[in-house]
Subunit: 209 residues, 2 copies
């Protein structure tokens, strides 16, 4: 399994990632935003004070980030974006422009200081490798965030009939007492859950439903 820095570097290498926020009406918003720097398990980006993205982050720091690379790997980050302190802004914007030279073309000269730097220093992470067969997933967290279990689990109520294993599109359920889902290869599609004749399969994050 990879470490936090490696997951964040996948997003940095994709660079143009999708950043989702919740606007003042409670609706989702999503934009393509550059991941400017990844360092010591933290992800840095910036936006201009005039943009709605800036206003949304200042009102509600919850942010979700994702991207897909050419190897069909995707990382999802669910975290909090913090605006850097006033005294750290100028140095970080200068650092960002040094690491990302194309920014000078968009915000030449002093115009760069209309940008403000944000950091994501805590969050949950999901990694999904669609380039492998069967697909492969991992989850993790960083900062003070806790890792979250998702998907499904076969309980002791299992009668060993094998229906779940037969219907699984990824063939990731192994025979046993009870049968067992290989969580790393599960799509979370729910077909086993729906097909079990004795309702022996439960959701791991049932509060979301």
């Amino acid at each position: 399994m990879m470490g936090v820095q490696e997951y964040l570097e996948i997003l940095r290498n994709i660079r143009d990632c999708a950043f989702a926020t919740v606007d003042c009406t409670g609706a989702p918003a999503v934009r393509i935003i550059d991941v400017m720097l990844v360092e010591e398990g933290r992800l840095y980006f910036c936006t201009a004070r005039g943009k709605n993205f800036y206003a949304e982050l200042m009102a509600n720091p919850a942010v979700a980030v994702t991207g897909l690379n050419k190897e069909w790997q995707t990382v999802r980050l669910m975290g909090r974006a913090e605006r850097l302190a006033d005294g750290e802004q100028k140095a970080m914007i200068d650092r960002i422009f040094q690491e990302n030279p194309s920014m000078e073309g968009v915000y030449p000269g002093e115009a760069r200081y209309i940008l403000e730097a944000f950091v994501i220093a805590e969050g949950r992470l999901e990694f999904f490798d669609l380039g492998k067969s069967p697909i492969c997933r991992e989850s993790s967290s960083f900062g003070r965030a806790e890792r979250e279990e998702k998907g499904f689990r076969i309980t002791e109520d299992c009668i060993g009939c094998g229906t779940c294993a037969a219907v699984c599109p990824q063939q990731c359920i192994a025979e046993g007492e009870p049968y067992k889902i290989a969580a790393a290869h599960c799509l979370h599609c729910g077909l086993c859950f729906e097909s079990c004749p004795v309702e022996a399969i439960e959701r791991l994050d049932s509060e979301a439903h």
Copy 2:
């Protein structure tokens, strides 16, 4: 300016777009999801009944979609996702698998029917061409959604000092009485707004701030 179908086809051609929702805790979620079909100004996608994405959409249909293509064009769609009626599900899932043959590898045989089809038939659209200099943006809407004006406007309070035009990183402010922002080329960075010595520049979507 492009029509709705053309904007949606940009998303279809990107195919792996970022779909943002709001989860039951009010936090943003974002995932890479395939745009499966675009037809008659509507965008179709699908997801499995076991996934959190499905639960989120059923609880709150507000969805935002974006993607970036190889020509550095990006489309943002802010709309509502409707689950197709029961009687239309099977035909649409079959149609989706016909148009997207790689789906059979992930959900072989009858497993495809754990998926349900959704349509986005109304929403607001923003198009942003970063491959051009100056950058170029357009906005539009479809279904019952109304187009939204964003960015900044120079009011009659303008004293013609030219400060705004001098600071604009995209040089998209023309001299005049009042001075005028070329909205199609504006970054919405807010530098003119902050720099105007007489506060003659206003936000067009002030309710968001």
